[in-house]
Symmetry: D2
Subunit: 350 residues, 4 copies
């Protein structure tokens, strides 16, 4: 297998850390550059404990010190809004690498929606339009030729995998979709905020971003495309004291003439051949411990006590399927490898 | 203050432990008997670590070894279905104590509903009808003369305090009420089940009892009374790796002609003079760390992104306001003490 | 009871938070000022979640905006090295309040030792000499007349209470004392350091400050006084993913002619009448869950497998007995109240 | 690579679970049988959440229903004392498989020591003598021809890897070795004991088995062999609220004429070529987050404040290097594979 030369930008955060961990174990990737602005000059092992004895990793450098034209692929794990300008520059190169961006910068297709939710005009609107929304299972046609892939946010990944087949099959209504989400703390990143301190989070829980989380317009964009009409959702994320793991409990209304059985069938048919998406047997309750550390998603469907409604439950590891794992799955699809390559690790329990 | 002689039944579980902790600190309670069937004969300190150096506590005995006629009050912390027969016997005594029952046995007024959800006929249906449903803030008229008080479940406590004023004010619709709840593990009790083991729960989360939790009919009973018509709710509880704490995120539909402001006003008016129920200032997000270890409940109200809907958030300590604290608050109301007596402790943070 | 007017400096940190929580519940304290440099101007409830509904608390101000001469007592919860100058100024007032300092600034009596461990000369060496080292159980003679009390560090509190009676009785040797300590994260304070982030600490553990923790000279100072000769200890603290709690496992060598029984007797005699220090029955293992949220310390003594040695185990809540609780106990002793006043709360379990 | 047919006994516990996880990913192992006495008849996915979507695993059966003669290797993950009789029977077969036992049954070579610590005579003393003590890095000469390998306990694994080279080099004294250990809860297994419940363990810590843990004689056996004289150690294990991870802080006395530098050199030389044993750079503190989920061990060495003494710190994942990972490493050494085969996974952080 000839190796692809890769850079990972923002390697010192939690998403970057998992990107490096997965890329290092991939047989077709050679990591040739790692960036980390505030930690440039340091070996990764001094910044992330789990690379203490990893071998052959380059030291962290400034992102603009990397020779991008010599690369095959760039994994962007930079904070939101800091990627777009850099990526525009990289892609303007002579023989630019392909970009797999894990930030939110290229997820929204509409310039106005972006400006509204991110508080300013996009610096590369033409790329915003070009970018492929990389929910792998629904993006396969576009990935092999994509120059720029925007990986979905962690919440949208779980929600869309649960909802898209049902909307596409017109099995559920496109109104009154309610998503209650629980996330581990790694989803908030490694930044020094009081709300991320151990003593604030441990033995505690709370919702956040009530009515205004940036993953909302992203979900609505993709759900609207699937439904063929504008979809407005209700979404409440909660912070829970675990490192990694994400759980969504989704309430939907059945479309006329549909039953739980028909919804189940729609998911079953859609995901029968998927390596990472698992509709559990009837009655089995999804739990994050089923997927911890892996690229899998477990889904199930239950009748609600209120007639005409159903409850969907989906669990992922927010750093893997919700972030770096999906990015690697996209890499596989883009470069013609088996999608499972480098992602076969079983979940870790306990 | 003349002291009331009290027995606490089921003192070796988590609910019993908190009942003893609170009762011990109450200036008008003298604990004269503690029961614990499997641990009878042992000092409480050998069974519960936090009583290692508590003084003056009687040893655990079998519940039927207690002289109930000599008592003023009994706090029943027995598992569900094990209380009803014993309580019937106690109340048939010559000068029986008043009973504050924390189990589910006397919460449901309807014999058939009870039989359906608890899998068998009630053994004291006449007491089931007599029992006062002890949501203190809504039961004050009945408590002073009550012989038997059934304390609400932890989930109903938070949900009802959030919803009852809104239903009574006809500010929300009685349909499509959706309750997403997160609970710490102490809510599951101290029984030796694999699902309660540290390694199953830590760094993990999952919903449970999907579509069929026993607190559902209890909530529906009280919501229906408030609404003046039958209410069917959607309720999904989740287990989260913390010891104590409970959070509910409740979606409601506004009644015609109502706005968030009107809902806020209804809660504000109703709870202005309550010692333990706190509507937070606009925009402040309730969190369990605001109430840990205390008898307080924090509430707030937010506009949903879906027009015509609102999101309510409520946080309690499931073992205090959701259980033993509320029982003590009922004791205060029943016996004529200030409701705050013995419940003034501030929350513990961190 | 006439109330003492108190200020609490550094009220927005974890130690300050517990100081306010305890002081608020004390019947003889009136909190008239709270300082918090970076959060001056805010109500405490916006800074600490557990004061969300506390009543009657003054807003945070700058420490130098407080009128100290009008006060009876000041509780200093400022970071190390920031207290000494301010306290010197306060004590130079016309009718200065008495000072209970929880920082490390006045714990070391020797100016050179201070300079060595804290990296600079002390700014109030005369007060350093005057300050009473406030390990309450061993400082009672001096407390009633003390103008300035330096409360011990959390690690020294547990270690000294375990070791002082044994050294004073010459029951153990003064050499080869080894202290292995485990601490919850609140001991590290509320500062924004990467090492305090939830994801760095949860599901993890590590030692720190190997060979050079600042509590070492403090322990050696007091142990040397008790032993009547210079004592050098081995001390290794570890960080463990809990909010509050501290455990020390201490290895000692028996003095010639002594047995475990004699050591046990020495502790028993010394602590028989203490309200907060508990030597557990033989064989009962101390655990932090016995003391969580309370001012108690549990101790026990075990034979080591290596002949001639013993193992001491001590557990405290680092924020209460290890910090704010002990400060309040000192307040009680200084002002003539029962030492237990305001500190009767039983531990919280689970 | 021709595949070895393997059975895993006791597959439904935590050790068994990790043994299956690792064996499934090993390119030269085919799992043909899994035993689980109480769960016989069930698919593993119903018993362990992380195998929800693993493919090709046989259902659990009773251990005596397995055809052992058809196998190449058996991994024994049964509770202590339940293995010896079964293994004796298996090894008496016509063409018995080779046995890698993870229980304590064959770790002690001396029959009397076994009887003393395990409360009864061994049922296969001849095998007890034959068994190879499988601390891989020190057992390589014997492994290729071993019929029965007894894998070390988790605590001995970390302690022996830290101490053996120093004792063999006579760089430390063989007296006064003190081992303070912290372990995650998975080390206590999956049995239904109150002490393993989430609410007993979370936000808490305590030592256990003071003076009498069964890993003591195992460590003393191997340390004595290395020292050439009887070694008696002091060992105190503590339970800490994490799932997986083990940390040992070891105090030793330097042998005359030795310094920290010489100890460091002894470790460096011994482990220079080891794939899984890492002496960290001077001053870098070992932490469990460096090894979580991996087969690595990180070690370091520090000067003690007491002259003439040193502090060793070692961290492993108790379920991997301390148990199933080391078993697989032994398998590789026994069957002639690269020791790293199937064990390349990087640690998981966060």
């Amino acid at each position: 297998m000839s190796k692809m030369k890769a850079a990972i930008l923002g390697a010192s955060g939690y998403t970057g850390a998992d990107m490096v961990r997965l890329a290092l174990a991939h047989p077709a990737i050679e990591i040739v550059a790692l960036s980390g602005e505030r930690k440039a000059g340091l070996p990764l092992a001094q910044v992330l404990p789990n690379f203490t004895f990893a071998k052959g990793l380059p030291d962290l450098v400034m992102a603009d010190a990397i020779q991008y034209d010599a690369l095959d692929v760039v994994f962007g794990c930079l904070p939101h809004a800091t990627s777009q300008k850099l990526i525009k520059t990289i892609m303007a190169g002579v023989s630019p690498p392909r970009i797999i961006d894990l930030s939110a910068d290229f997820r929204l297709r509409d310039a106005e929606t972006y400006a509204h939710w991110y508080g300013g005009a996009h610096e590369a609107p033409e790329l915003q339009r070009e970018a492929v929304y990389g929910l792998t299972e629904f993006a396969r046609a576009a990935l092999p030729s994509a120059r720029l892939v925007a990986c979905p946010g962690c919440y949208p990944t779980a929600a869309l995998l649960a909802l898209l087949p049902l909307l596409q099959a017109r099995a559920i209504k496109s109104v009154n979709i309610t998503i209650n989400a629980l996330s581990g703390v790694s989803g908030a990143g490694r930044s020094l905020k009081e709300s991320n301190l151990f003593c604030e989070v441990a033995e505690a829980m709370a919702p956040y971003a009530l009515g205004g989380h940036r993953h909302m317009p992203e979900m609505e964009q993709e759900l609207s495309l699937a439904a063929g009409e504008a979809v407005t959702i209700s979404f409440v994320p909660h912070l829970v004291p675990i490192n990694r793991g994400e759980l969504e409990t989704i309430m939907v209304e059945l479309a006329p003439g549909n039953s739980i059985a028909e919804l189940r069938a729609a998911l079953q048919v859609r995901y029968a051949d998927e390596a990472f998406v698992h509709l559990l047997p009837e009655g089995v309750v999804p739990a994050t411990r089923m997927v911890r550390g892996s690229n899998h998603i477990v889904l199930n469907l239950f009748a609600d006590r209120i007639p005409g409604r159903a409850i969907l439950v989906a669990c992922i590891d927010n750093l893997v399927k919700g972030s770096s794992g999906q990015a690697l799955q996209n890499f596989n699809a883009m470069f013609g490898f088996d999608e499972r390559c480098g992602l076969e690790a079983l979940p870790l329990f306990p």
